[in-house]
Symmetry: C2
């Protein structure tokens, strides 16, 4: 940024109407409304230092053993509609989503719990398919479902099945991956094309037909993360950009680290079919959910080796450096556009697509 | 049991119509239908030795440290209706329920996750009350909510709020509490009056007015368990008789341990108001859910000291020896009635009261 350019440091979004007395769909969208709910309703009463980390997974030290044992714990409820979609289903998503959250602090996922809220009238055959899909995903990541729970709610008070998975993993010694560790000079990497999951869900939900079949990217990222950590333990931040997409994930990191993030729009990989769908529907791929992608922020001198390792992994074949951490416009993400302009990539208030995961 | 009495060993329930193609309310009732769903649908695909323990909480050994570190993990989704009831609310229940499940393997609860499924239109004020109630319950048990998740579902596809809590605790060395450890000669203790929670929910749900106000017994049992373990580590089984009540809990233990359990009906403590309500409504208190009671099975020579310690604790003031473990009628619970008869206390197929927790 040269001196002649406008400064972003004083930029603020006009205050939106966020003063709702009741829950609206946007409270679940991973945008500002979600953040408000957490900040103003949950955090004040549940306040504790671990929760305040606000990572994809919490890291806790378990007392009573000879050396520090750090557990990563993450919980996620899945309410995606439809339950079955191109590339996956709610069961796969429920395993991948929590495995990924645990992996995003660098932990090796070990155990999952599974809580099912079933709607009266849901076919057992469908539940069986969901369970089989979960089991398959567990096997691929070498995690076990060690405990579960099943509740049934009256017809009309559910949506077939809602699933909560809570994951427990072990953080290896020497790994310190947190949203507040991005430093000016670090590079921002993404593991592949963004927007696939959201657009796949949208296309099946709305009955849209595209020339190319769009499939969700749902996948477990624990293997990719383990390989990246073999290259270097010095990874500062990891995020899987699910609800709220790339924009929400990068804004969270920028805010937590008190740094600016500069994106090179031309470098962000988007599949042609997703780009076409977004243009047609007026959606911005930066805000579309992904379920098998990660963002990594790490020192520039480590980037080349890590990128090469990512390229060698099936889930990182299209990995790219998409930006860098800067010491201006702290807390904000700014994109350099293809035509030489700049724009603020803010978080959305609500969401573009509800019930995406 | 004398030789002239009928033998129970060959007793079987007439086969009920359990061949449903879809989910029915009874699949969530903690009775035979729930057990069928777990046994025939979930277990075959998720199969692993920890899940097969079928305890209130799973016990796993975490690898990578110098000595065995045993974690207790339990998950529960709460869908109780109404959300607020005499003696508690869904928030309190969500903390107590999971704290209790973790305590039922003798573990000290440490951490909770909390996943909220919110219905569009749910008042933020109500959500605030639920959250405050959870925080209060956490403080009482010295557990922290370390990670959370919030999803929103469309109006009509929820019931205000569903909560999943997953708890993690640490099992102290020397403690081996499992459903398969009941041995003939052991005594069966209960920590107090049974049936309070279920009848309280029922009374408010159905608008029934009783002479005495009935309140849920929802309470965290971790403190009571810790004191019992101070008396002896040699406790064989612990259960909190929630869904399915005393009957389901004792049948699970009898089945897992391959023993018979003989109940002394006159010794089972039931509050007069609950007994009256049950008689009026044709309900059996043995099948009514409790949310602040435990069953303990332990060697006869330890019973007196443990019972005395329980009596000194506010949650165990009305604790009593209610039966014993026998080597006849394996897998079955038989009650000696007040008038000298005997009856089989089987598990229900479904449930007496849906949406109780």
């Amino acid at each position: 940024m040269t001196d002649s350019e406008p400064t972003w440091d004083s930029w603020t979004c006009p205050l939106p109407l966020r003063d709702y007395p009741t829950i609206v769909m946007g409270h679940g969208g991973g945008g500002k409304l979600s953040a408000d709910l957490i900040k103003h309703l949950f955090m004040p009463v549940f306040e504790n230092p671990v929760l305040a980390q606000m990572g994809d997974a919490a890291v806790v030290v378990v007392p009573g053993n000879d050396r520090d044992l750090r557990l990563a714990v993450s919980t996620d409820s899945f309410t995606v509609t439809p339950l079955f979609f191109p590339g996956g289903d709610i069961g796969k998503l429920a395993v991948h989503g929590t495995v990924n959250d645990v992996a995003m602090v660098g932990a090796r996922p070990l155990f999952l719990s599974a809580g099912f809220i079933l709607e009266e009238g849901f076919p057992l055959e469908s539940l069986g398919r969901v369970a089989a899909s979960m089991a398959e995903a567990c096997e691929a990541s070498a995690v076990s479902i060690i405990t579960g729970d099943t509740k049934v709610v009256d017809r009309g008070h559910g949506d077939g099945v809602y699933i909560n998975t809570t994951g427990i993993g072990l953080v290896p010694p020497g790994v310190e991956i947190r949203a507040d560790r991005a430093r000016p000079g670090d590079l921002v990497l993404v593991s592949g094309d963004i927007g696939d999951h959201g657009i796949a869900i949208l296309s099946v939900r709305e009955g849209l037909a595209f020339e190319t079949m769009l499939a969700s990217d749902t996948a477990a990222l624990d293997g990719l993360v383990a390989e990246m950590l073999e290259e270097t333990l010095d990874i500062h931040c990891l995020r899987d950009p699910t609800r709220g997409g790339l924009a929400a994930a990068l804004n969270e990191i920028a805010g937590a680290s008190g740094v600016g993030i500069e994106l090179d729009e031309t470098a962000v990989p988007v599949a042609p079919a997703v780009r076409a769908a977004c243009e047609m529907l007026g959606l911005d791929p930066y805000y579309i959910a992904n379920e098998g992608k990660l963002i990594a922020i790490l020192p520039a001198h480590e980037a080349e080796r890590v990128l090469a390792r990512m390229h060698a992994h099936p889930l990182g074949a299209r990995a790219a450096v998409i930006g860098r951490v800067v010491d201006s416009h702290a807390g904000m993400v700014v994109a350099r556009t293809g035509i030489g302009g700049r724009r603020v990539v803010d978080r959305l208030v609500g969401e573009q697509l509800p019930r995406i995961c």
